[in-house]
Amino acid sequence: MTEPILNVEDLSVRISGLHILQGVSFTVAPTGVTVLLGRNGVGKTTTLRAIVGLTPPAGEVRGTIRMGAQSLLARPTHRLVRGGLGYVPEDRCVFAGLTVAENLRLAERRGVSPAYDKVFALFPELDRRGRQRAGSLSGGQQQMLAIGRVLLNDNRLLLVDEPTKGLAPKVVTEVAEVLERVAESVPVLLVEQNLAVVRRLARDAVVLAAGKVAWTGDARELLLETALTRSLLGVGSGESQHPAQPGRAAAGKDGH
C-alpha cells in the first residue's frame, strides 16, 4: 500500500474537562474514500475539527496529525485550508446572511481560478439561486452549497461531515455520486451514518467507539460481516424489512 495522505497518531482531545478522544490513531489512504463511523457522540466531528484546527478554545489537543510529511497541529486553520485541506462541516455552516453567489465567491482562493463550471454542473440549483440569501435555502440546498463551496478549489484532501443528513433520497444519491466522482481525484475522509452511502463509497473504514478506535480495515469487509457490523455499529447490515417497497427502502437509511 502507498503512503497514506493523512496520519493521525494518538490523537487526544479534551474539551472543558471531558476526555472526548482518547488516543485515536488511523490513516487515510491517498486515494478513495475513508469513512469514519460510530454512534452519535463518539467524537467523529471532534476528530475532523481537530484535523482542521477548529477545536474550541476551551479544548486541548494532543498527539500528532500529519499530512504527508507536514505536521498539521499548531498551524492556523486558514493556512491548512489554503494548503489544500477542504472541510465540509456537519451543520453546513453556510453564511445565512449572504447570497448563494456571495457564499461561493467567499470560497474562492487567491491565485487559483475557481471551478464554477464544475460546481454548477453538479448543482445547477446553485446557479439558479445565486441571488437568494443562503439562510432561506432549504436544508438540502444548503448542503449542496456547502459541498459546492469546497469543490470550487483543488484540494489534496477533503474532510466531509455527514453530507447526506437531511437530504431527500434522490439528493442523497446525487451527493453520493458527486462524492464518488470527487474521490476519483481527491482522497476523502467521510463521516456518514447512511450505510447505503457508506457501502457505495467507502474503501477503508475507521470505527470509533467510546473515544477510541474500535476497528479499522476494509469497509466492504466490515459491511459484509453481519456480526461485525452488529457489534460495532449496532445494526444488521443490508437486509431491508419493509415489505411494501423493498427496492426503495434501501435508498433511505439502511435497515434496522
Binding site: 445565512a96 446572511g97 440569501r133 432561506s136
Partner: protein, 374 residues
C-alpha cells in the same frame, strides 16, 4: 429551517441558574446558611469600631464608612435587580437608570414639593415606578435585541431630557433637588443616624436578592432562563414570551424604583447624574464584573464598583499616587481611568465575573493537590 442570524444581542455568557440546579458536594450542608451568616455579619457591622486603614477613612462604625457602605449596598441590590433582566432573561436594556431615577426623583418631589409623609411618598413612588416600567416595557418589548436596547435607551433619554429641562421647577435641572428632611422621621436625619440608612440599604439589598432568588428558582424563572436561550422555542411550547418578559421587566423596574427611594434618603436628594445612560452602562459593568446570572455575582459587582467609584477619588489624591512621576500619577488621579482599566482587566481575566473565581480557585486547588485518592 435554518436560523438566520439577525442583528441581535447575544445572550450574556451563559450560566446555569444556580437556583435550578440543586447543590452538591462537601459544602452543600453549610452553604444554604452562608448567606444568613453574611447577613448577620452585615447587620452587626455598625457595632464594630474596627479601623480598616486604606480601605475606609474611619472605623467601621463611623458615619462616613457607613454612608459609603450604604451606597454600595443599594447598588448591589440595583445590580441584582438589573441582572434579572440581563443575566437571567437575556434582555439588554440600556434604560434601567430611568426606573431608578424615577424612584429617586419621585420620592424627592413627593416629599419636598408635595410635602407627603415619607411612607406615602415611597409607596406612591414604587407603585408609579412599577407602572412606568410596565407601560414602557409593554411598548419596548415589541422589539428584540439591539433594537430593544435602543428603544429603552431612547425612553431613558427622554427621561433625562425632562429632568434636565426642569419643567415647572420640579426637578431642579442640572443642579438637582435636595431632599427636604423636615417631614422625615428623625431617625433618618443627621449624620449620627447614618447607621439607620445603612440598615435600610441592607434591608433593600436583602429584599432584592431574596426576590430575585425566589423568582429565578420559580417556574417563571425557569421560563425566563429558557427565553434567554431560545425565545421561539418558548412560544412553540405554549408560553407567551412577551408576557414573561414584561413580568421580568416590570419587576426589575419596580425593584429599581424601590432602590431609588432608599438612595434618595441616603444621599439626601436627587441629581441628574442618575438619569444618564452612563448609569445603565455602569449597571452593566457591575453585573458583568460580578458574573451575570449568578446569585451573588451582581451583588458583589455592584458593591465593588460603587466602592471603587467612591474610594478611587481618595486614592487619586493620596500621597502615594502624588509622589509617582507625572506619567503615572496624572492618569491614576483620574478615578474613571482606574475604574475603566480595572474593568477591562476584569473582563479579560475573569470572564465569568467575580462569581466564577470561587469555582476556579477550587479547580486550581484540585489541580495542585497530588492525586492521592482515586
Amino acid at each position: 429551517m435554518t436560523e438566520v442570524k439577525s442583528p441581535e444581542v447575544p445572550a450574556p455568557p451563559a450560566a446555569v441558574p444556580a437556583e435550578l440546579t440543586p447543590e452538591r458536594g462537601r459544602w452543600h450542608r453549610v452553604r444554604p446558611f452562608l448567606p444568613l451568616v453574611a447577613l448577620v455579619v452585615a447587620v452587626i457591622v455598625p457595632y464594630s469600631t474596627l479601623p480598616l486603614p486604606g480601605i475606609f477613612e474611619g472605623p467601621l462604625n463611623s458615619p462616613g464608612t457607613l454612608q459609603v457602605l450604604a451606597v454600595c449596598l443599594v447598588f448591589g441590590g440595583l445590580a441584582a435587580g438589573y441582572d434579572l433582566l440581563f443575566g437571567r432573561t437575556g434582555m439588554l436594556s440600556f434604560g434601567h437608570a430611568l426606573y431608578f431615577a424615577a424612584g429617586v426623583y419621585g420620592t424627592d418631589i413627593l416629599v419636598t414639593k408635595a410635602g407627603l409623609p415619607l411612607w406615602q411618598a415611597a409607596l406612591l413612588t414604587v407603585t408609579g415606578g412599577t407602572i412606568l416600567a410596565a407601560l414602557l416595557g409593554a411598548v419596548a418589548l415589541r422589539t428584540v435585541g439591539i433594537a430593544f436596547a435602543m428603544v429603552t435607551l431612547a425612553f431613558a433619554q427622554v427621561g433625562a431630557i425632562l429632568v434636565a429641562r426642569d419643567f415647572g421647577g420640579f426637578t431642579g435641572g442640572e443642579e438637582g433637588l435636595p431632599l427636604d428632611v423636615s417631614g422625615l422621621p428623625a431617625g433618618l436625619v443627621g449624620v449620627t443616624n447614618t447607621v439607620n440608612l445603612y440598615w435600610l440599604a441592607l434591608a433593600y439589598l436583602t429584599l432584592v436578592v431574596f426576590v430575585v432568588h425566589r423568582v429565578s428558582g420559580s417556574p417563571t424563572g425557569r421560563v425566563l432562563a429558557g427565553l434567554r436561550d431560545d425565545e421561539r422555542r418558548i412560544g412553540v411550547l405554549g408560553l407567551d414570551p412577551y408576557r414573561y418578559k414584561l413580568v421580568a421587566f416590570t419587576l426589575a423596574g419596580g425593584l429599581a424604583a424601590a432602590g431609588g427611594v432608599i438612595y434618595c434618603l441616603i444621599v439626601g436628594g436627587a441629581s441628574p447624574h442618575i438619569t444618564s445612560s452612563e448609569l445603565t452602562l455602569s449597571l452593566l459593568v457591575m453585573v458583568v464584573l460580578g458574573g451575570p446570572g449568578t446569585r451573588w455575582g451582581p451583588v458583589l459587582g455592584g458593591v465593588l464598583y460603587m466602592y471603587l467609584d467612591h474610594r478611587l477619588t481618595a486614592f487619586g489624591s493620596s500621597d502615594a499616587v502624588e509622589s509617582l512621576p507625572a506619567v503615572l500619577s496624572r492618569p491614576l488621579s483620574q478615578p474613571l481611568f482606574v475604574l475603566g482599566t480595572l474593568f477591562i482587566l476584569a473582563v479579560y481575566f475573569f470572564p465569568g465575573g467575580l462569581a466564577s473565581l470561587g469555582p476556579r480557585l477550587t479547580l486550581l486547588r484540585h489541580s495542585l493537590q497530588p492525586p492521592t485518592r482515586r
